[in-house]
């Protein structure tokens, strides 16, 4: 009798286990899934191509297809990331959790690219005859490093050398000095700075140029709750509390031209609802962007930038009549061509994260 009971248990366990696996497989194979995975900010692998005996890829293509459509994929990825954290391998994740925030890996510069970039910026600016300045904010992790009990200390020591090189250059604007409260200037779930962080950069920039510095209260403000950014996404870990995305734009009428399209506002509230909430600023990243504010006191500013400047440009547009911004990742030409296209400029500003400054290959290829 006892054996019989056990036998039924075994049957149920085997059939349940195998049927569950098969259902997962059939769901992955047959259920129509949206092409875009919002949580991972990428498109799913496409269906396997027609098999070819001379170039057999069906096995790998099928595997990629199933992996991208496996049921509860987000839960599985989160479980794996949690397992990495639980076994002390959180620093192995693409972005890892510390003090309630998700951080990117420390930036190191073993090949001395920082100095090379400074020289390249200098020679580019010489050609246009405009004075230039550089903003590279200290990273979120770097500002938090003292709260990590020595974790990755040696790598952060290497990151410190990048800032040492930068601060020794007179063109560098040290907008987030060591000791800045990280929680105020960086989002928890995203690698970008907050409006407060961007305002510090704006203030430093305007002071250096002798322009008035407006407080944030003097801008039109808007905020969007439930923002889950890139670092949280890259960690794979679940986040139950999003950030509050705060934006500011001048009260004066402005005209934004981004890749040929014209708008009369700099903030795009509709983008806050999408997977890329940070695109509320300037409608996201574009190769070349122009902002006109005829009421501003300053002249023309040419900005070479990565996405860090997207939050900063609306603030700067209160002080500059014309801003031309160039993003190397999306602009097809090199920087000299961009400077020619921008026409006469009064000042050049370079705004990059330390990671972009060192590791962005499009910047390295176009800064000439």
């Amino acid at each position: 009798m006892k054996d019989k009971r056990f036998c039924i248990g075994d049957r149920a366990a085997v059939l349940l286990g195998l049927c569950l696996l098969l259902c997962m497989g059939l769901f992955a194979l047959l259920w129509p899934h949206p092409e875009f995975i919002a949580a991972e900010r990428r498109y799913r692998a496409s269906a396997p191509s027609a098999p070819s005996l001379t170039d057999w890829k069906t096995d790998q293509e099928t595997e990629a297809f199933l992996a991208d459509r496996v049921p509860l994929r987000n839960v599985l990825v989160a479980a794996d990331s949690l397992a990495e954290v639980a076994t002390a391998r959180r620093t192995e994740l693409d972005a890892w959790p510390v003090a309630g925030a998700f951080l990117e890996k420390p930036v190191t510069d073993p090949e001395g690219k920082t100095s090379r970039r400074l020289q390249q910026f200098e020679s580019l600016s010489e050609k246009s005859g405009a004075k230039w300045q550089l903003i590279v904010p200290r990273s979120h992790g770097y500002l938090l490093r003292k709260k990590m009990n020595g974790l990755l200390q040696s790598l952060y020591d290497q990151e410190a050398r990048i800032y040492d090189v930068l601060t020794s250059n007179a063109r560098f604007l040290d907008v987030l000095p060591d000791g800045t409260e990280a929680a105020e200037v960086y989002y928890r779930t995203d690698h970008h700075w907050t409006l407060q962080g961007a305002w510090l950069a704006y203030a430093a920039c305007c002071r250096a140029d002798g322009l008035p510095v407006y407080s944030l209260d003097e801008f039109n403000r808007s905020s969007f709750p439930g923002f889950f950014g890139t670092t949280q996404s890259r960690s794979g870990l679940p986040a139950f509390r999003g950030d509050m995305l705060e934006c500011a734009e001048p009260k004066d009428p402005v005209i934004l031209t981004a890749d040929g399209e014209t708008f009369d506002h700099l903030i795009f509230p509709g983008r806050a609802e999408t997977y890329d909430g940070y695109a509320v600023y300037l409608d996201g990243n574009h190769g070349m962007t122009e902002i006109l504010n005829p009421a501003a006191p300053g002249g023309t500013l040419l900005v070479f930038k990565d996405s860090f400047a997207n939050c900063l440009l609306p603030l700067l547009s209160a002080d500059y009549r014309r801003i031309v911004a160039v993003d190397a990742r999306y602009y097809t030409g090199n920087f000299s061509r961009a400077a020619e296209a921008a026409g006469a400029v009064d000042r050049i500003l370079f705004v990059y994260s330390a990671d972009s400054l060192i590791n962005d290959t499009s910047l390295a290829g176009k800064v000439k």
């Binding site: 056990f6 036998c7 075994d10 049957r11 366990a13 085997v14 059939l15 286990g17 195998l18 049927c19 696996l21 098969l22 997962m24 497989g25 059939l26 992955a28 194979l29 098999p51 005996l53 057999w56 069906t58 096995d59 790998q60 099928t62 595997e63 990629a64 199933l66 992996a67 496996v70 994929r73 599985l76 990825v77 479980a79 794996d80 990331s81 397992a83 076994t87 002390a88 391998r89 959180r90 620093t91 192995e92 190191t108 990755l152 040696s154 790598l155 020591d157 290497q158 794979g236």
Partner: protein, 450 residues
Amino acid sequence: MIFSSFTFLLLFMPCVLLLYRVLPAGVRMPFLLAASLLFYGWGNPAWLLLILFSMVLNWGGVLLMTRGGKKPSKAALAGMIVLNLLPLLWFKYAGFLADTWTRLTGIPLDFTAPGLPAGISFFTFQAMSYVIDVYRGQAKPQKNFVTFSVYLSLFPQLVAGPIVRYTDLEAQLIARPKPEYPEMREGLRRFCTGLAKKVLLADAMGRLWGSINGNFAEAGALGAWVGLLAFSFQIFFDFSGYSDMAIGLCRCMGFRIPENFDRPYRAQSLTDFWRRWHMTLTDWFRAYVYIPLGGSRRSRIRRDLNVLVVWALTGLWHGAGWNFVLWGLYFALLLIFEKRFLLENRIWQKIPGWIRQLLTFLAVMLGWGLFSGFGSELWKALWGGYGGASAETVTRCAAYVPMLLFCAAVSFLPAPKKNPLRRFAAPVLMFLCLAALAAQGYAPFVYFQF
């Protein structure tokens, strides 16, 4: 197809196991053959020709050899062995031989090595065991082509063993067993354990080793030692995990195949280690090479020579490269030394057990250094030639300390007699493996290349 893939776990395995359970006995073998061929051909359909050739050659060849009930001739046996070895020589060793020729003579050969079909060494050795066992009268020729083909291509152990001798499986193949649910449950438990060894432990260790190998100047001595330790765990969990999965899947279909590992890193001598590591290969070489050469019944010098031959071949079986030959000879010399000077004189037994275990593991680990093929750079790093480790290496090694300790505990400590979590282990391990696969993607087994 590999076990640690969604294709296998979510489609192939449940379909095949459920269907195999419900099919009538007469259809089970043809179904298993079709499933095995699909499994094998999924990675590259062209390889099917090779295994089909081996099936026809060995099935037909043995029937011809034994036609009329006569004892097969030595010449026929030799012919069959040569015909079995030819594809192995071509696919696995032609590139190696051409490279060696060029190095020795300086005359380059216009030759591109063909790709290595998965599991060719495994099924070739199984086929040869069948031919030799029939020649020796230890097995009867199998007249049913499907039954023989299932033996040669049984998908759980087709590409990475264990190497099953025909005599171990003959009766089961003829009986065409119907799997019972308790057996299937035990089999699935074993499969999940093996899958976890591969996906959760071996792949993690592989990532650590992968971040260190090839960059020993930056890894320094610390990185090289930790990396080699990680590689030792990777290769063990990868291969023993595969064997667990193969044994578990066979059990799900009512087959019992031999064990391949018996906690080898708990061995207290190298002789003991090789009784515990890849036991079916050791058994194969003992039965078909070492004993026919005279084994240990001849003089001491002849015995040592036999050991050298067997281990050189074992090294070559693992891979077409001088590092594998060197690895085999390294073990041959250590085993000869151990037997002559440590075991026979009973010196070794006077040393405390944990020291013997540690020294044995150290010798094995250094052997894996040879096996890895990283050559002088690895050895230079191990002995401090590149100085200390970089900050990144230290950080990475530190992050893996808990995993390394866990792997060490699983490898070195005795198995717990009672595990209260056993009931729940399989679904939890399966979930964690699916999670890791979803996050990591595609990671083939290390042993596929052998």
